[in-house]
């Protein structure tokens, strides 16, 4: 297990580097220049000389390093890299091809820093957002909380609902409840989230029908009153979270309950279950003690995807419910070509996805000892 982990962690580094390269290149391939967006202000009614504007554009491209090549490397001979070029013994070096990396490029600045606005991603500094002027790490920290909350809470809720449904369906595949629940969940699964979110708002945040919940935001307008306790804060916040949580949750229900149903059905056919039943154990004990543990595998699989989805957020739900999360931030950053934010988000998503997979591998082994990560010796 330790060896496996070590191997995976070693494999992490080149994968992450490739991911970083990919993210860095992709965003820069898109048309347009972020400086143009930065220079679009709300004072455009006043005259500015086109030459002056152009000078400013060049200056800012230079200052942000956007006038540099994205990558700068060349193929030459080993000799080009050698300090002692003139000696006769070094002639052979002319014939050895060599890849030269030149530091003055955008990737290098982003990776190792520019000594001005960023110390480089290698030192954990993602730079400064072009649009808001915030440090990217602060921007992400201020936005990720709600995305993480909804991602975790909705998946927890989805487990709590879908597990008993799946269990019941596995035990009673032909019952009316199973038929109704699976049909309803499939219908729910097919509903586009923006539509159901709007319908729920129109039904339950509408004074003309039912006004149970507020229509937007995650807390009272203007913030909480001074001097209230955190319990009061939670009570005031809860109504804001109901409809968004339903929307974040319902689409996972069909998928999870079906996985639980199939897994439990398979487990219930196993010999050890038959043995347990033959020993005269009650159905509760058979399911609870023997079958249930084996249903953890899908739980782990889905859980590993929670964190990346929290980084990605949900643009549609965050827009509809005015949730200050990551989805909206990413959308706005794409629109403004805010490279530092975009590359940071892409990088973090990749990192967390890989970490999630690693974690799930470990959890698989813990949940099911039959899963082994070491190569078996063939005798």
């Amino acid at each position: 297990m330790r060896r496996y982990l070590l191997k995976r962690i070693i494999f992490f580094v080149p994968t992450l580097f490739l991911l970083v390269l990919l993210s860095f290149t992709l965003f820069r391939l898109a048309p347009g220049n972020p400086v143009d967006r930065m220079m679009m202000g709300s004072n455009s009614q006043y005259y500015q000389d086109a030459g002056e504007w152009s000078d400013q554009r060049s200056y800012w491209n230079h200052r942000l390093g956007l006038d540099l090549p994205v990558f700068y490397l060349s193929i030459g001979s080993w000799e080009d890299n050698s300090l002692s070029r003139e000696t006769a013994e070094d002639t052979w070096k002319k014939f050895i091809p060599f890849l030269h990396f030149h530091p003055n490029n955008q990737f290098h600045r982003w990776f190792l820093g520019d000594n001005l606005s960023s110390r480089g991603i290698i030192r954990g500094d993602f730079g400064i957002s072009y649009t808001s002027g915030q440090r990217v790490s602060e921007l992400i920290a201020s936005r990720i909380g709600w995305s993480l909350f909804f991602a975790l809470f909705s998946i927890l809720l989805a487990y709590l609902i879908s597990l008993p449904i799946g269990l019941h369906a596995a035990q009673h595949p032909s019952s009316l409840f199973t038929k109704v629940s699976s049909t309803s969940l499939i219908i729910l699964f097919s509903l586009p989230v923006f539509w159901s979110a709007t319908v729920l708002l129109m039904l339950f945040a509408n004074p003309d029908i039912f006004y149970f919940f507020p229509a937007s935001g995650v807390q009272p307008t203007g913030g909480f009153p001074d001097g209230i306790t955190w319990i009061q804060k939670i009570r005031m916040t809860l109504p804001y979270l109901v409809i968004p949580t339903i929307c974040y949750t319902y689409s996972s229900l069909a998928f999870l309950s079906r996985i639980f149903r199939v897994t439990i059905s398979e487990v219930l056919k196993q010999d050890f279950i038959k043995t347990a039943r033959a020993k005269g154990l009650s159905e509760k004990v058979v399911i609870g003690k023997h079958a249930f543990r084996n249903t953890f595998l899908p739980v782990i699989t889905v859980f590993s995807s929670v964190f990346p989805s929290a980084i990605g957020g949900s643009v549609l739900l965050e827009t509809i419910f005015s949730i200050p999360g990551m989805g909206l931030t990413i959308y706005q950053s794409i629109d403004a070509k805010d490279y530092p934010v975009l590359t940071a988000v892409f990088f973090l998503t990749g990192l967390i996805t890989m970490a999630g997979f690693l974690l799930s591998d470990v959890m698989y082994a813990m949940a099911d000892p039959r899963i082994s990560f070491s190569k078996k010796q063939v005798s």
Partner: protein
Amino acid sequence: MPKVSPLFLFLIILHFSCKEVDKKQPANSLNLSPVIHLQDTSGFDPNWSKSNTIVSHLNAEPDNLHPSNGGSSPRSEILIQTQAFLLITDFENQTIAPGLVTALPTISSDGLSLSYTLREDPQWDNGERLTVQDVIFTAKAQKCELTNNPSVKAYWKNIQTILPDDKDPQKFTMIMKENNIQNMSFVTSFCIMQRSFHDPDNILNKYSFEQLDDSNFHAENEKELLQWAQNFNDDKYGRTPEYLNGLGPYKVSNWETGQSVTLIKKKNHWTSNSSESRLSALPDKIIYKVNKDENSVQLEFKTQTLDVSTNLSMGTFTALASNPAVSTNYHHVLSLTYNYTFLCFNEKPESPKRQKLFTDKQVRRAFALLTPVENLTRVVYKEYSTFCKRMISNVSPLKPEFNSSLDAIKLDIDSAAKLLHEAGWRDTDADGILDKQIDGSVIPFKVELAYLNSSPDWKDMAMLISESYAKAGIKTDLLPVDLRVFLEKARQHDFDMILGSWGGTPFPEDFTQLWHSKSWLNNGSNYSGFGNAESDALIDSIKTEINSVSRRGMIMRFQEMIYDDQPYVFLFCSMRRNLIHKRFGNISVFADRPGLLLNTFRLLSTTAE
């Protein structure tokens, strides 16, 4: 007891949730002047909040609230309340009025020296009085190349220096490099910053205006200046309430990321005893609430969570205006703005992939005759389109210098076809599309029309335009693009036609940016390529003519030149959709941005909390 199907119940509920959209009623206030005064009324829900707090809708969060580094419209809207400016817009008269100065500046005969006298009463939050040093600091900070204000830097280039008066500490003279009619109006957009707050060590004082302008002066090599700039640009001065310092009557008390920005009235502010209405601060609190979703905005008005919006889409405005509960509690007002929508032709195509389709002004005139402007206004403003003003020239009809002798070009397909025929465009191969021999090869009349993909209105307009052009044998390829691509194409002259809009103000306009031929050569905002020696000379004269009467005559002549050349098809003035709670009075709606001055709203309830 009869059983009710849940599906049936759901459909019934859904039906009632949508019912109001079908009932269309006219808005309760439609007025086409630049200023609309709303009558105070008592006919609103008496049970509604009596708190003296305005909740105003924003459809985007401000990028920041830094006094110099930012560029979003919500930021400008909030800074009006938290900051103060040397000169301000007199919204009532659509002119410029003194702000932090006692009067409008005295301007020298060459127009290059503007002498101001600061008011005695403005005080910063720490009790310091406003000084000329604050004004000088502001100008230097804006000009310094290390300041993160790319969107405004070019505007400050024209300031050569600011000279304090030797005898009177309240007086100073702003020396400009070039005479320009906007030398006075441009300061209405830039707030004054406190020198001792942003530059306690007086670093900027060590550098002259000349140095800051010098292209050979490398600010990044100046250690002290670099340190100052790093601190000045720090995000805390644009986001953390304790660091948001300004001379305005309100201060930011809370900023909930992505949710709301709360302003509270300062106690014992220097404007407290002022009798001037523009300096008043009547509400105790102003909350700017961010909501991008049209449906939940509708619900927030139905539940009276929001008091004010100037950012509604036409669909939401119409739906809310037809809701009896909303009508009872809110004023709904359409107001004209100085912004306008246009179709621009590429008169001088440079790119080899662009055909010379619009080099002939007769063809451009034909396109103006083919453009269904009335239908286009109907697409955008629906049943309120009759209240929309047609643009005839490049000057808003709300401005006194608008040339009313010019006639709107009406839809006339037959006349357009005739003009195109005269220009040599005929359907020689009978494929339904006109063609013409240009530079030795036969070119079909296929036009690419680029428009923004940001709103369905642009798409609907583009489709209507293409249908109309098809009637004259012109094939239009529609190209929806995002803003960045749109601007890039326009600046690089890589288009046949573009559909777009321009913003405007009531102040004197310098036509150089949009219409001077050098703005085409430099890839500036003269996208069409309009301009010749005569028009350039007239633009140069207009921008330096201080006398408004003489200038007006020149502008009228300039409009005739544009009208004759037809580089654009001018479509219509944009209308702002305002919804304002009736629990507030003393409300005026203005054509200029932001449209409403929230600080002047008076709570009408006599039992205010």
